[in-house]
């Protein structure tokens, strides 16, 4: 009985005595006599610019779409109604789009080359419009403002302060 008790005690005590592990830090896993690493401050190579060099030789630079397409000045101050797709720029806290670009076809964002600048209208709206889907076309009513090109900056284009925005439905 006593021997059994002793054995039991040993079984409990021994692991407790032996099992206090040593804290190891990650730094200790690198041998202290490892060759000192001298930081190399100069770039090892300049391959990062290779893509530029290769592409310059491979093909002419990407063709730019018309960033500064001519606009029709007579449309200025006309009260018009225009259908189009909404590309949101500013979304209010209520989830309403208060500033957006109106484009003639959905997917003007990425799938095809962007429309030229005279096919985009920059619209602001006080109350905004609650967009459910990007591919829902809308009618925009308001006063058109035509901003003619002033410099080499491509700042020409149509702007509008929307008075009414409502969903476009297929004519019956």
């Amino acid at each position: 009985m006593r021997r059994a008790l002793l054995a039991l005690l040993l079984m409990i005590a021994l692991p407790a005595w032996a099992a206090e592990p040593r804290d190891l830090s990650w730094q200790e896993m690198i041998p202290p006599d490892a060759p000192v690493e001298v930081p190399n401050m100069t770039p090892l190579h300049d391959l990062s610019n290779m893509a530029d060099a290769l592409s310059a030789e491979a093909a002419p630079a990407a063709k730019q779409d018309l960033p500064n397409a001519p606009v029709v000045a007579t449309l200025n101050d006309q009260h018009i109604r225009l259908p189009g797709y909404i590309v949101p720029l500013e979304v209010s806290e209520e989830g309403r789009t208060t500033e957006f670009l109106l484009v003639p076809y959905f997917g003007a964002c990425i799938h095809v080359p962007p429309p030229p600048s005279n096919q985009i209208v920059h619209v602001r709206s006080e109350i905004g419009v609650k967009l459910e889907e990007l591919y829902q076309p809308y009618w925009i009513e308001g006063q058109m403002q035509v901003k003619p090109s002033t410099s080499e900056l491509a700042d020409a284009g149509y702007q509008m302060e929307a008075e009414k925005i409502y969903a476009y439905e297929l004519p019956e």
Partner: protein, 421 residues
């Protein structure tokens, strides 16, 4: 009016079941409103986080991914982009301002962002509001200065002049720290209710300096170490950044520039319109939101059916009550409206208690949600939409109340005439 009083008195007589029934409705109403409120507030906080930025540019990945890590500090970048790519587009004549961002490190779970002065000058949130300093100043030329977001300063009790150590990686508990290069708090931003509150802002030079002697993916040893003072005298122009934001002179050129960036031959990059990416994010989340909404509607329905069951089972026990009422001159429609009143009263009590419960829950969990998820749930009055939901629940209760009312209406005459019940 006496009918309503009678209905209330009858309910009071069975108060234990009545309270349980109302409580079941209250829980379901609370759930429905909570789902609705979290949904709208999450959307509002997402929408108000970024404003006035025309394009966000990062390594090529997905538009939602880029939006999430660059603006909302959710997830991680897939790759960095070169500093000279940033310089190339920052110099574009169409670009009015450019904010570089360098992410990847953290301090006790809060993300660290390396940027420039342009961030404090041009970054906008909400309704075109600029960032404001609550105290101190923006970081200056010394690389080891940090500007804290309001939440970071509050939660960790930092004040101007405190020293803190940034950690490598984005874990809450970090084992690898940049403890040889402590940062000094020089500014604290005003609360914005956006992820900016949970960010530590350092200069790009500081971001470069803490990683300057990291070569093989570990901090250098012994002689390889570069002290903070040595780093100050080195060239700290970054090699790479994580993303950048652009503001344009003319919104109409957004697509043209986006196209140029996406087709940039120097390296693969992705430019997104934040509004479009946000819309995509919402249409993705929309399905989950709808599922949650439908589930909570069914829970409300379950609560109402529970009420219906309770009233219907009580009808049998109350045949004597109805018979007595009939004998003292109540008409069948009196009996019917009595039961409708009862259902309405139960539902009303449930709705009121549910709204109360919601406010208690919001008040209790507000700080936690704000600190951990950046979600600000205001204790605001119910919105028009929530009012319609509540009215809909009451309407449904009235409709359900008419079922026992109809039965009682039919039975009351026969019961009143029979001797034994």
């Amino acid at each position: 009016m006496y009918l309503f009083r009678l209905a209330m008195a009858s309910l009071a007589n069975r108060r234990f079941t009545a309270i349980l029934t109302a409580f079941a409705i209250a829980l379901s109403v609370c759930l429905l409103l909570a789902v609705e409120r979290v949904r709208t507030e999450a959307r509002a906080s997402f929408a108000s986080t970024i404003s006035g930025t025309d394009l966000i540019v990062g390594a090529r990945s997905g538009s939602v991914n880029l939006l999430l890590y660059s603006v909302f500090r959710i997830g991680n970048a897939t790759n960095n982009i070169r500093w000279d790519s940033f310089e190339h587009f920052a110099a574009n004549p169409q670009v009015k301002w450019a904010i570089p961002m360098s992410l990847g490190d953290s301090h006790r779970g809060y993300r660290v962002m390396g940027t420039t002065d342009a961030y404090f000058e041009h970054y906008q949130y909400g309704r075109r509001q600029n960032l404001q300093l609550a105290s101190g100043r923006a970081f200056a030329t010394d690389p080891f200065e940090v500007v804290l977001g309001a939440e970071v300063a509050d939660a960790l009790h930092y004040k101007l002049g405190d020293k803190l150590v940034l950690a490598h990686g984005v874990a809450v508990v970090s084992l690898v720290k940049h403890d040889d290069k402590p940062f000094t708090v020089v500014g604290i931003l005003q609360r914005t209710g956006t992820p900016v509150d949970r960010t530590l802002h350092i200069s790009l030079g500081g971001m470069e300096a803490i990683h300057i002697d990291w070569h093989n993916g570990v901090p250098a040893q012994g002689k390889g170490r570069i002290s903070a003072d040595q780093a100050r005298n080195m060239d700290l122009t970054p090699q790479a950044i994580t993303a950048f934001m652009l503001g344009l002179n003319n919104k109409i050129s957004t697509f043209t520039l986006q196209r140029q960036i996406n087709e940039f031959r120097g390296e693969p990059m992705l430019a997104i319109l934040p509004g479009v990416a946000l819309q995509e994010l919402w249409s993705m989340m929309g399905t989950a939101e709808k599922a949650l909404f439908v589930i909570s509607l069914f829970v409300v329905l379950t609560g109402l059916i529970g009420m219906l069951t309770a009233i219907l089972t009580s009808l049998n026990e109350r045949r004597r009550e109805m018979a007595i009422l009939r004998s003292v001159g109540a008409r069948p429609w009196h009996i019917a409206s009595l039961l409708i009143f009862e259902a309405f009263a139960l539902a009303l009590a449930g709705v009121v208690a549910g709204v109360g419960l919601l406010y208690v829950c919001i008040a209790a969990s507000r700080g936690y949600l704000q600190a951990n998820y950046g979600l600000d749930l205001p204790l605001a009055l119910p919105s028009p939409y929530e009012w319609t939901l509540l009215a809909g629940i009451l309407g449904a209760a009235l409709l359900m109340g008419s079922v026992p009312a109809w039965r009682a209406y039919r039975q009351s005459l026969a019961d009143g005439l029979s001797i034994r019940l």
